[in-house]
């Protein structure tokens, strides 16, 4: 117990058309939302600090080492 770190998912923003709370070439954390994913949307914690639905096509999934994930968590 306690030695399993949660594996957070991160995406790289590659498009931000009509999305003022996303910045291109920036990494964002995503949260699971299977219903939204079926519609082609991802639940993304955006620049407002809250999670909202954005088109999957605006992002590409990135795999970060655990140290990088932890650093991003701390910086929120």
């Amino acid at each position: 117990m306690g030695n399993q770190k949660e594996n957070h998912k991160f995406v790289l923003c590659v498009e931000n058309k009509d999305c003022e709370d996303l910045e291109k070439r920036k990494i964002y954390q995503i949260l699971p939302d299977h219903d939204a994913e079926k519609e082609g949307y991802l639940r993304v914690i955006d620049e407002s600090g809250e999670d909202y639905l954005y088109p999957q096509s605006y992002f590409t999934l990135v795999h970060l080492p655990r140290e990088a994930q932890e650093a991003l968590q701390v910086s929120k």
């Binding site: 009509d18 003022e20 219903d35 620049e47 407002s48 809250e50 639905l53």
Partner: protein
């Protein structure tokens, strides 16, 4: 926009005002000073796929600025 609101937004309510808005500094920097409110409501939205879903929407408003940063919080149906 990556979604289109179909019809009217219903059950609109204010969820934060002024300094209670998490990113009030960004809002004021982008649009200017004002008595900003964050609101939520429910509407049918047409998605990029063409599907229509009922969704909870969040956005910001201040007198003279209209609705800004309309975003989908979640699908409801």
């Amino acid at each position: 926009m990556f979604f289109e609101i179909i019809g009217e937004i219903e059950e609109i309510e204010t969820i934060a005002i002024g300094g209670r808005i998490r990113d009030i500094m960004r809002i004021q920097k982008l649009y200017g000073p004002g008595r900003w409110r964050k609101l939520k409501g429910f509407a049918n939205v047409k998605l990029q796929t063409g599907n229509i879903r009922k969704a909870e929407l969040h956005w910001y408003e201040a007198h003279g600025f209209g609705r800004k940063k309309m975003k989908i919080k979640r699908f409801l149906d």
